[in-house]
């Protein structure tokens, strides 16, 4: 699947990423960088939109713009928590007003498929439209669907695929109460070296316009994607070797692996084991200490991988090991969260 256009929003800007100027935070929940949404969305539409929808719609439009496409054939969205803030709003109204005087806007905006629906509405796209909400494999589920579409004879030529999630005022901090977030003093830049449980979280979106055939706009490829709800470390290693082999790559031919280490000592062993063994001679990159961990952060990781392949440059601050690298041609993104929903995504240069 050829990437003809893409865009992302995260806690770090693209400029800072490649200028080695990444920002550190002292909170375990930090927001994405702000965007001038008014440039892309009319005020009468914007007034109702949650951040999830705004981030999703803007990155989708930017990706389409870059690819020179007005209306894609299909729209496939991955989101773990959907429009969390509107869900919170409607729920609080119910609890505060004891189920009376309730206004519908927050309810309508709260369903997980609102992003996909809003994008379709904005573009007047009547094509295939889907939303996946499989926690940290939401974006990958969307990619697998996109890949399926290109093998079927339905006339699909280009698919808009993306991942988006937002933080919410009250419900995201609940993750401090169930051990998902790290307690104590936080310095996000150094979180991967931490020796405690929990991680940090943020929000963001990344959308891609994928094309069946390579065009002059294509700059990288998402070759393949697999998800596993539950897998042991041993089986994981076997699967990775099989996955690469299926795509005509040997382990030592893989240039870069982007890993999802997030500083949670309970689960980072999945990554560390690979770092010490299978990938000890591969350039390893980590990113969650800069953009946090959230269900669809791997969409950002894919954007990052594609950006690296496009620019032929590696942001130094992301390196987890110190191997030199000339020009990356293949990148594997591996992720899991809380030991579940493992995913492998392979990107290649053209």
């Amino acid at each position: 699947m050829y990437i003809n256009g893409m865009a992302s929003i995260a806690a770090q800007t693209e400029e800072d990423l490649f200028a080695e100027n990444l920002q550190s935070f002292s909170e375990n929940i930090f927001p994405a960088t702000s965007v001038n949404y008014k440039e892309y969305i009319k005020p009468m539409m914007l007034r109702r939109m949650s951040k999830t929808i705004k981030m999703g719609l803007v990155t989708a439009k930017r990706a389409l713009n870059e690819a020179g496409v007005d209306v894609p054939d299909s729209i496939i969205v991955g989101t773990g928590e959907g429009c969390k803030q509107d869900t919170e709003k409607f729920l609080e109204n119910i609890l505060d007003e004891n189920e009376s005087f309730l206004t519908p806007t927050a309810f309508i905006q709260s369903t997980h498929n609102t992003v996909g629906g809003q994008i379709a509405l904005d573009l007047k796209c009547t094509g295939y439209n889907m939303t996946y909400t499989q926690n940290s494999a939401s974006f990958e589920s969307a990619l697998i669907d996109a890949k399926l579409q290109f093998t079927e004879e339905m006339g699909t030529r280009c698919v808009l695929v993306g991942g988006v999630d937002e933080i919410a005022r009250i419900s995201t901090p609940f993750y401090n109460l169930d051990g998902q977030l790290k307690a104590g003093e936080i310095n996000t830049a150094k979180i991967l070296q931490s020796s405690s449980e929990g991680t940090i979280t943020s929000e963001g979106a990344a959308f891609f316009l994928l094309s069946e055939i390579r065009t002059q706009d294509s700059f990288a490829e998402i070759s393949d994607c697999m998800i596993y709800r539950n897998i042991s470390e041993e089986k994981l290693q076997e699967e990775i070797s099989w996955f690469l082999k299926k795509n005509d790559l040997k382990i030592d031919e893989l240039d870069v692996v982007i890993l999802g280490n997030n500083g949670d000592t309970r689960y980072d062993h999945y990554y560390q084991q690979l770092q010490e063994d299978l990938f000890k001679n591969t350039l390893q990159l980590g990113y969650k200490n800069w953009v946090g961990d959230y269900n669809t952060v791997t969409a950002y990781a894919c954007w990052l991988g594609a950006e690296i392949l496009k620019r032929k440059e590696i942001p130094q601050q992301l390196k987890l090991n110190n191997l030199p690298l000339k020009q990356p041609t293949s990148i594997l993104v591996y992720n899991q969260y809380l030991g579940k929903n493992h995913s492998l995504t392979l990107l290649r240069s053209l």
Partner: protein
């Protein structure tokens, strides 16, 4: 000088707040301007919001959402309806 009672101003302020019309001021809405369609550009979801506003702030319960479009035609129409039917 257009007739502007407290109710007219109150309604405009409520509408701006309830419907999230962020960049608008009370002075931006005319009393006889169409609220739906071509004027202010409100839609059917906004109509439902206004129905709740009628009940919550003025004690008027509308059971038929279709009646809403007539009542919400303009600030003047709304104010007239509320004056005639309010229980709060």
């Amino acid at each position: 000088m257009p007739i502007m009672t407290d109710l007219h101003t109150e309604l405009k302020a409520s509408i701006i707040e309830q419907l999230n019309l962020e960049d608008m001021e009370v002075s931006d809405i005319e009393n006889d301007e169409p609220l739906f369609g071509d004027g202010l550009g409100l839609d059917s979801i906004d109509a439902l919001e206004l129905i709740v506003l009628l009940e919550k702030d003025y004690g008027i319960k509308l059971t038929d959402p279709k009646k809403g479009r007539e009542i919400f035609e303009s600030i003047n129409k709304m104010a007239d309806f509320i004056e005639a039917n309010r229980t709060k």
